[in-house]
Subunit: 389 residues, 4 copies
């Protein structure tokens, strides 16, 4: 497997690791890394360091090409070794997925205007898709989307409500999804825009995303027709293009931070004594660390397997569902055990283990709850089995 990682990718991945461990991890206790994610000031400060260390947007080559998914996994896992790493290196969600999509589907003008400032790390972006449940909008089921786009001369006029829009607060680039009479469409917009109002930023259990997750009202947003991504009705197809890789890159980043939690918990267990011996010498603790080692390895193998599938040009829908479920559930078990191993220290903010536990709890829901993926996998199993019967 590792053979398919080029020297260049390996070299930049290792540089990312050194950078995140040495220059970014110390910021974890910085008060600016708050509960709605790091402040814009802190983001800027960390990104300047990343540019300096030549690790900005490390998974995209200088010529604009992307490393393979297997190589991207190598790099993004390293960037995740701190919850602040992906923000610093510009490998985080939703930007990573947005850059991927723009690279695949954007026109040259669109790339120059919307993609370039993202790749350089100058701007952040948001992806306006999910809608509030109180109004019966689209959560896990995209067919329920209620936001509407109507053509008015050379402009589209968009109205609707969105929620859980990660990073909207502070973003400079937006991708907005809405239904038109031709089907779902995606629009590129400059942010902020007075027609896109942040009604509030949600309090959430996770806290690593700059800008947090926002609730949004879109009120007669006018978008010039040439800011549509592709053609009318291609919205769901583009959502699919973005879907599997974006889902997988979540796994990569969170894998990194789970590795870090395991390091912290293991060192703690090798230092702290109770009832006459080191914690790790208690099987009750040692077994948990061994289980973590297994869960981490399985997660890594699933990530690499799914990445290889995407690299072969397959859509990877089944594979990324399987990977998302297994990795998010496994990393949650890892985080939960790390908390437990560390006792009172584990539920305090004195190490990042507590934050990681919260982040990964959200991961079991973000990008499709475990149950939605199992439901979708079951449907595919049925289809395949009936076809063969």
């Amino acid at each position: 497997m590792t053979d398919s990682i080029s020297d260049a990718a390996r070299e930049i991945g290792d540089r990312v690791e050194t950078f995140v461990r040495k220059e970014i991890a110390p910021y974890e206790q910085d008060p600016r890394a708050g509960s709605h994610g790091p402040t814009e000031e802190l983001v800027r400060e960390m990104r300047d360091k990343a540019i300096n260390a030549d690790v900005m947007t490390p998974h995209i080559r200088k010529d604009g090409g992307h490393y393979s998914q297997v190589e991207t996994a190598y790099i993004l896992k390293k960037s995740g070794l701190s919850p602040l790493g992906p923000v610093a290196c510009n490998t985080m969600a939703p930007d990573e997925g947005n850059m991927f999509l723009l690279g695949k589907a954007g026109s040259e003008e669109q790339k120059a205007r919307f993609l370039a400032p993202l790749v350089s790390g100058e701007a952040r972006s948001a992806f306006f898709m999910t809608e509030p449940s109180a109004d019966g909008g689209a959560g896990s089921d995209p067919s329920m989307m209620q936001t509407e786009a109507k053509l008015d001369g050379n402009h589209w006029v968009i109205n609707g409500k969105k929620t859980y829009i990660t990073g909207a607060d502070g973003a400079k680039v937006g991708i907005v999804m809405a239904n038109s009479s031709d089907g779902a469409c995606m629009f590129l917009v400059d942010l902020p825009d007075p027609a896109i109002k942040i009604t509030r930023v949600l309090e959430t259990i996770d806290s690593s995303m700059p800008g947090g997750h926002a609730e949004i009202t879109i009120d007669n947003l006018r978008v010039p027709a040439d800011q549509m991504l592709g053609q009318p009705g291609q919205g769901f197809r583009f959502a699919q293009v973005r879907l599997a890789p974006a889902r997988l890159s979540h796994c990569m980043r969170w894998y990194g931070v789970a590795v870090r939690a395991q390091e912290i918990a293991t060192e703690y267990a090798c230092r702290r004594e109770a009832f006459g011996k080191l914690l790790i010498d208690h099987e009750g603790v040692g077994f948990m660390l061994a289980e973590n080692q297994i869960d981490l390895k399985q997660s890594e193998l699933m990530i690499d397997w799914c990445a290889a599938t995407l690299d072969r040009g397959e859509d990877g829908n089944v594979e990324s569902s399987m990977t998302k479920v297994s990795v998010s559930e496994a990393l949650f078990r890892v985080a939960d055990r790390c908390v437990q191993v560390m006792g009172g220290m584990g539920v305090s903010g004195d190490t990042i283990v507590e934050q990681l536990f919260r982040e990964i709890r959200a991961f079991r829901i973000y990008d499709g709850p475990t149950e939605v993926h199992k439901w979708s996998l079951a449907k595919k199993i049925k289809k395949k089995t009936l076809a063969a019967m």
Copy 2:
């Protein structure tokens, strides 16, 4: 079982339920119910309402006597229907346990001075026992206690460090545990005291305890000899007296809030649709709610069983360990499933489910991590089995 609950206890329990649901639950979204627990101002405001509704310290009768543990379970479960309920009604930790201990072990003077203002809800208290691991102090293993008390004339002089001291910030009464040449001792102190310095209040995953959890330095604290609880060397015996009931009352309170979470998640699942039907009509969701119903029932039965054991005058060490492990683990599963049922809403602060999930995560560690209880249970199983072989 329910037969053993007197009408008086049932009546006050039901009054507590009405009070918590109607008057306290609305405060949950109050900004003063912050991440280090409710502010002193909010505590006062809620407690005035509790006095008004005649539900202050509801598990202690007007004559100072305590309701039985089975009755206390009935009352405290109701008080827990909001994370703010126990603070409002004065059934929360560590006060509930401290009042119990003072009632059992305090002299009349000590009760008048230290217990009375606690029972009236005028003052809060703290229990200074656990110590920082960084210095090798006592966490789950009390034999590692390093805080020392030396007799100097008619005073004891105490030095040491404590951590995870719940509610210390803002408390008026303290119970301090320290080693003397005669063994462990407990001391009653007025707070604040310049010799007891709060070095910081920890950031923790839970956020319902007023005053949060503090790190403390005790620097030449001088305590008059008559403020010792009982005799020198009785410290561990008193810790035992407090132990099982205090552990059990945690289960009661958290049970209440888990019931509330289940109510919220169930209503959500009966209102929200996805993929063409109500969430609850998806077996993936309905099964989780059914599992919760079972876990809640089992938790209730364990609590009542342990309470009945204590009411028979037994020490209940085994029973309270079994109950603490099973209830904390079961309620965590309940909370985790409620989060999952509610999807994005479940990891946001829009309902208390998200907070409950965090609170109960801590519960699996507070008052002895699951693993310490299993370890202790295994030792007792061994002893009993060898005796019978």
Copy 3:
């Protein structure tokens, strides 16, 4: 709780325990206790001993009345301390449920003819309800029942296929369920009958039921009209009458044998050494035994809670579903851990732990798989919640 057990019930329960441990357990290694359950010869031999020890049908009083469900739980748990205990004492399935149903719904003549020889332990019985899936018959879903009964003069003529008919091979009394034009009916029949052909006895994972589980063809079985239980169309009502208590008595018996497995595994762990200490001194082993102790206690409390519900005259449908799910799953965990604690010995027939593990695996399916009960619980949660919204 224990107060509600009369001295008489307690006395006979304790006598059952002594009998099962001293006189029945030694038969466990008898080759006649084979893979399709004990042979008729062995059944007779054990039952003669039971009559001798005055423990035959111990949950039914000499006057024909039944002990309360809470008392029955006390007695049946004791009878289960060996997988052969229920057969020996006549507390086993399906006879226990059949006797219960006949006592509730039979006419005096029916009782004299069909119930009396069951209570005396002279005869065994079978309950013909479930049907083969290959033909789309009724498994967990009784509405799919295909067996038909047609009135022909003064007789009913019954045709159909049944499967998983426990104890049919060797039974003297049968209760046959079939659809008539008036709805489902139950018929009492003498066995064997040439019109009821045992096509084969299934090989199954469990092996404690005499007669095993049979596949049956009913071919023009003629039953006199007065052998119908109750009236035409009451079949499902009677199935309900039998349902909850029969389901609960499974829990009682299997609880007993899980207690026995825990005893065996614990003694093994207190005798056997590995890696320099007793197995039980390894936390990996001691924790499993502690978890078993908790699971057993929870199971006991659920059984007693459900029994008390039935004793209050409620139908107990929800309670028995909750109890069946939680007890069967908990006892399976107990059995699985006992196997694991005992290593190679645990998967061999040298102790009954291996058999118990297999028996309890089947218990998670018999009397409704876990999933069917969760499905039914979810529907009731929905109904109750919508009613309150």
Copy 4:
């Protein structure tokens, strides 16, 4: 990963699959495939077919060389598609491991005499290592070995007891482990030998191994000195050589049969209806099948990862422990879910799912219980962490 499988290996693996599905699976219902494994007659019959189909000992090339571990995984997984497949194709334990060891450590004479008839499928073999716990012998802890070998002229005289000796009954070749004054040794012996007495064949939960698992007394067994494998004291080293690959090949075979169980359960769920729809359309069932698909994929990835490690010449101790734990636990979950999906059918012998469930239960203990591997992993984590601190 798949690139590293040669065309030759792929071709023979695919031939094995066709052979096992078409020619061997039908034997599963043959009465000669009994509870102590297939009879010698059935083994011979199936092996003649295997020779005919050119799939005898398919993981060893005609020139005596072994396929790589990654290739062996490809082949052995296919051979496991029936529990009788490995016996038929000669890829089963303990022969596969014994052949591997003899190939690595045997002299040319030893290979000609003891290995050749194994590779041709003419003879079966046994590995005499584990000892009865009743006498304090070596189970999971090889340091407790009590069997002794003493030099007497040009012969070694061996005395001791062994248990769980798989396939001893009917084997022609034995490898006996014993302690000498120079340390542990391995001896090659012809079987049967009057000094090696089978005291009984154990009843065990699994039933696929020909000859079952035997208890053995070794009473003054005289072995010529040139039948020692390697040199005196090399016994544990050879045990290590055999260990990781033999452990891994268990995972390969059992993976195959779990795939088969999943096929059977999935087809059942796509054919059988309950409560108005196909079983698979119930999320309670569909989710289980989706979880199986994930568990199977993770198992496959762990097997391939460990195989690649061994192919790089590493000892693979950590990797094979991690793989054995995760694969045996995952496949057990798969088997358990398949049983549950199939309801009453799942606990009957009508499909191989019931047998598979029992086989895999044993797998969690054979070759080191899960707990022993976790214990060993924890020790290695500690060592590595302390070295880096």
